[in-house]
């Protein structure tokens, strides 16, 4: 499967066994993209919002 990077419009290859919530990186701009929908062999992605690392004790 493929998707377009919302940041640089590059084509991003997506593994066939991808799951919702998985993060892929754009090969061109490096932006991390979150898989938000998978329907009939096509995927929707959005820019992943990463929160800082502070996961407690």
């Amino acid at each position: 499967m493929k998707a377009r990077c919302p940041e640089c419009d590059a084509e991003v290859k997506i593994p066939d066994d991808v799951i919702i919530g998985e993060i892929v990186s754009c090969p061109d701009c490096g932006q991390e993209l979150e898989i938000v929908e998978i329907t009939n062999g096509s995927v929707k992605v959005k820019v992943a919002e990463v929160e800082g690392e502070d996961w407690g004790e």
Binding site: I19, G21, E22, I23, V24, E32, E34, A48, E49, V50, E51, G52, E53, D54, W55, G56, E57
Partner: protein, 267 residues
């Protein structure tokens, strides 16, 4: 003003070595002091005994952390604020130190924002977003509340729990909680008492670390220590004069740091 963070190795299930207690007493007679404790391993031990297996997740940077689900959050508060904290309070009270133990939810002492989502590396080594559970990023410390106690002659000892925006009980990192508390109190010193002599680099203790240059050093440092150095540099940015990472297993673990160069100083 000194803030001392005592990690899980130091406090166990709520006890302290006589060396630490004596030293805290000595220092408390000369200046203001506040304590923050850790104790994640004890949380894991009790949670598993209660039949709530603990899950650990790995961040993209390779840091392993507890996954704090709803049930775990309750157990976390129970062990931290009920067992470890009260064990420490009586250990200090026994020595005539008028300790008051509480957590960040009490008097909204530590507020945090719940992390709605976390990015982890899953079992197939792929990055994935999961629900954030009950951990938080500290947003503020109620220094007025802490000063009320301190100026009243009490020594606060805080559990690493924060109050979320929706009044959730949140698991927050003890080192970072100590950094924010030290910052809010305008501490001269934030002392991390650990099970090692300081930060090691190529088998030697690093004497000094410039808080602004921490990022260069981090890739060469082990995980647990990395968190501590980050928290220390955060404290410096919040106005703390210096942070020291030093051993809690020596004689006079606190006064030694005050009187001579010891451990690793972050400034």
């Amino acid at each position: 003003m000194i803030v001392i963070k005592m990690g899980g190795d130091i406090v166990g299930s709520g006890s302290l070595s006589p060396a630490i207690i004596d030293d805290i007493k000595k220092v408390s007679e000369e200046q203001k002091i506040a304590l923050v404790h850790g104790g994640g391993d004890e949380v894991t031990r009790i949670a598993e005994k209660l039949g709530v297996p603990q899950t650990f997740v790995i961040s993209p940077e390779g840091i392993r952390s507890r996954y704090t689900g709803r049930e775990t959050a309750v157990i976390y508060a129970m062990v931290m604020a009920g067992m470890i904290n009260k064990g420490l309070v009586v250990a200090l009270q026994k020595a005539g130190i008028n300790a008051v133990g509480f957590s960040g939810v009490d008097g909204a002492a530590i507020r945090a924002e719940r992390k709605k989502r976390l990015i982890i590396i899953d079992e197939n080594k792929r990055k994935r977003i999961i629900d954030g559970g009950y951990t938080g990023k500290i947003t503020s410390v109620n220094s007025e509340f802490l000063f009320l106690l301190i100026n009243g002659g009490y020594i606060p000892i805080l559990s690493p729990i924060a109050l979320g925006d929706e009044a959730e009980i949140l698991n927050v990192d003890g080192d970072r909680a100590a950094a924010y508390v030290a910052g809010a109190l305008g501490a001269d010193l934030l002392l991390f008492l650990t099970d090692v002599q300081g930060v090691y680099l190529d088998n030697t203790i690093v004497k000094k670390i410039d808080a602004d240059k921490v990022s260069e050093l981090l890739p060469r440092i082990g995980q647990g220590m990395e968190k501590k150095i980050l928290a220390a540099s955060e404290a410096i940015k919040l106005g703390v004069k210096r942070a020291v990472i030093s051993s809690g297993f020596i004689d006079h673990p606190v006064t030694s740091v005050l009187s001579r160069e010891l451990g690793t100083v972050i400034f």
